[in-house]
């Protein structure tokens, strides 16, 4: 119960702190080369969606389908959070009837989905992105404006030349 209240009033950055630890671990062996930003897709209005267009700077670092799958899954999570269905209407009506006081006591559906999203991003980072020297930042930490992909240059690699900018790395591959 105490844990619930601490999480409720303590902000949503509890998983962000773990991300900082991961980031610091990556930083021990790698240095940040560049950051790639995946922008929001507003073609369907103000609902939270990210563009599934693959950024060319990541061509040499990760397979196209992996990143696109991650973005599509995140888009479905956000759509679920913002879905206007029976549950959200009930929540809204109940909140209105209680003069919105229940928002102080209850975790909203949106917040629950956001927790799922941060768990998913952490899992994706551990399984897919960190082994490739990339790190996804949870969009909520950037105000849901962009999805930041940090590209690390692996200092500890065995002499295979991963150059500091991903584009020249891409050209080297060609």
């Amino acid at each position: 119960m105490l844990e619930y209240w601490r999480n409720r009033w303590g902000g949503w950055n509890t998983s962000g702190e773990t991300e900082f630890h991961n980031l610091q671990e990556l930083r021990h062996s790698a240095s940040l080369a560049t950051k790639v930003f995946i922008q929001r897709d507003y073609s369907e209005g103000t609902v939270c969606r990210f563009q599934t267009k693959f950024p060319s700077e990541l061509d040499s670092r990760i397979e196209r389908t992996l990143l696109e799958d991650t973005v599509k899954t995140l888009n479905t999570y956000y759509a679920e959070a913002e879905k206007m269905g029976g549950q959200s209407y009930m929540e809204g009506c109940l909140a209105c009837a209680t003069a919105y006081i229940i928002f102080l006591c209850m975790e909203t559906h949106y917040e629950k989905v956001l927790k799922k999203i941060s768990g998913y991003i952490q899992e994706q980072n551990e399984k897919i992105y960190a082994p490739r020297g990339l790190l996804l930042t949870d969009p909520i930490e950037r105000g849901m404006r962009v999805m930041e992909v940090s590209v690390f240059e692996d200092r500890g690699s065995s002499g295979s030349s991963l150059s500091s900018s991903a584009t020249s790395g891409g050209s080297a591959q060609r």
Binding site: W9, G10, G11, W12, N13, G16, E17, F20, K35, F37, R40, Y42, S43, E44, G45, T46, A81, E82, K83, M84, S88, Y89, E91, G92, C93, A95, C96, A99, Y100, I101, F103, T108, H109, Y110, E111, L114, I140, E141, R142, G143, M144, R145, V146, E148
Partner: protein
């Protein structure tokens, strides 16, 4: 020799040169700061970031004062008479409405209206790079708008020079609060805060409940006066005209609040914001066939549900989160250097007499 001087400075600064490494690192590590302490907008924070207010609270105290004074006068003067002459439900209904009004008002004022955090330097640099490579950098300053399609309609996104980002659709920058606010409606001085995506439903319930409350009070007051007048005429009792100015204030405030509620009901039903309505962004005066509102669901019921009963979005500014400890590692590194110097100097001090001996 340099080591000795360094040690002296350290001894004065730290106070206990012979102590172990742990206390030194603990004293030097700065307190982790929360994000609200470095928030760039013009907002005030209380309760360690839990409560947010605009810098200019405007006439919020006046609003609260008017509501409380009116209600207290109502409960003190009209309720006793009406309870004896009509029913005991009147103060109960009045009390419930009063509570609803005050709670909605406080929630509107003290909630984050949907402030967008400013772009971090990396993100701002990336956006600048995209603007300059898009070929429109011939003139200074370059036209900083981006056109996108929303539901097959062209919408222009403007670049915010303060927040260093392209504003999402329906977002506007409030100059009073110095923040970009999502689904910006207006900055309400009566409430002392912007009205935006996150607190519009609180604002709407505030003005609607206030309309009901003032109408209820006015109705009870008129009933009271009517019944009193009959009593004065029929029973020749004394009349007390002292409360008439208060009734006149009530009468005039009703019309403005009712008018505002009606206006916002229209906005909710057509999924518009005050900002868009005033600017005429989607009015059909432009002549083009498809210049309708791209955000509407084309159904009054769904528009109302979406605006008032939709999912409650989270606060994006994370007031109570901790700042990343970027400045801690260098300080920690300096601590290690200090402690290693201290260790060396201790041994030097111990060793000096012996070296003196040997030499």
């Amino acid at each position: 020799m340099k080591n000795c001087e360094y040690q002296q400075i350290d001894a004065r600064a730290l106070g206990t040169p012979a102590s172990s490494f742990q206390p030194c690192t603990e004293m030097k590590v700065p307190r982790l700061r929360r994000k609200w302490e470095v928030f760039p907008g013009k907002n005030r924070f209380y309760c360690d970031g839990r409560i947010i207010l605009a810098r200019q609270s405007g006439i919020l105290p006046l609003t609260l004062g008017l509501i409380v004074v009116t209600s207290v006068l109502f409960f003190a003067f009209d309720c006793p008479f009406l309870v004896t002459h009509l029913t005991v439900c009147i103060p109960v209904i009045g009390g419930v409405l009063f509570l609803f009004v005050v709670i909605s008002l406080l929630q509107t004022s003290l909630t984050d209206p949907g402030i967008l955090p400013r772009a971090l330097p990396d993100e701002a640099a990336d956006i600048e790079k995209q603007i300059y490579t898009s070929g429109s950098s011939m003139y200074r300053p370059p036209p900083r708008t981006k056109e996108i399609l929303i539901n097959q309609q062209v919408v222009k996104l403007k670049y915010c020079f303060t927040c260093k980002m392209f504003r999402p659709p329906r977002t506007s920058h409030c100059s009073l609060c110095d923040n970009c606010v999502e689904r910006f409606d207006h900055h309400c001085p009566w409430v002392g805060n912007c009205v935006g995506k996150r607190n519009y439903r609180f604002f709407y319930s505030f003005i609607v409940s206030l309309s009901f409350h003032t109408s209820f009070i006015f109705g009870c007051v008129v009933t009271h006066l009517t019944l009193r007048t009959y009593e004065v005429i029929l029973l020749h009792q004394k009349e007390s005209p002292a409360r008439y100015p208060f009734h006149i204030i009530c009468f005039f405030s009703i019309w403005s609040v009712l008018g505002l509620s009606g206006f916002h009901t229209y906005l909710v039903a057509s999924n518009l914001t005050t900002n868009e309505d005033i600017k005429g962004s989607w009015s059909s005066k432009r002549g083009a066939e498809d210049s309708g509102n791209p955000y509407t669901y084309n159904s009054i019921f769904i528009n109302c549900c979406a605006t008032l009963c939709g999912p409650m979005p989270p606060s994006l500014i994370d007031r109570r989160g901790f700042l990343p400890p970027d400045d801690i590692p260098p300080v920690a590194a300096a601590d290690l250097e200090l402690s290693s110097f201290l260790a060396k100097n201790d041994t030097n001090m111990v060793g000096m007499p012996s070296s003196g001996h040997t030499s």
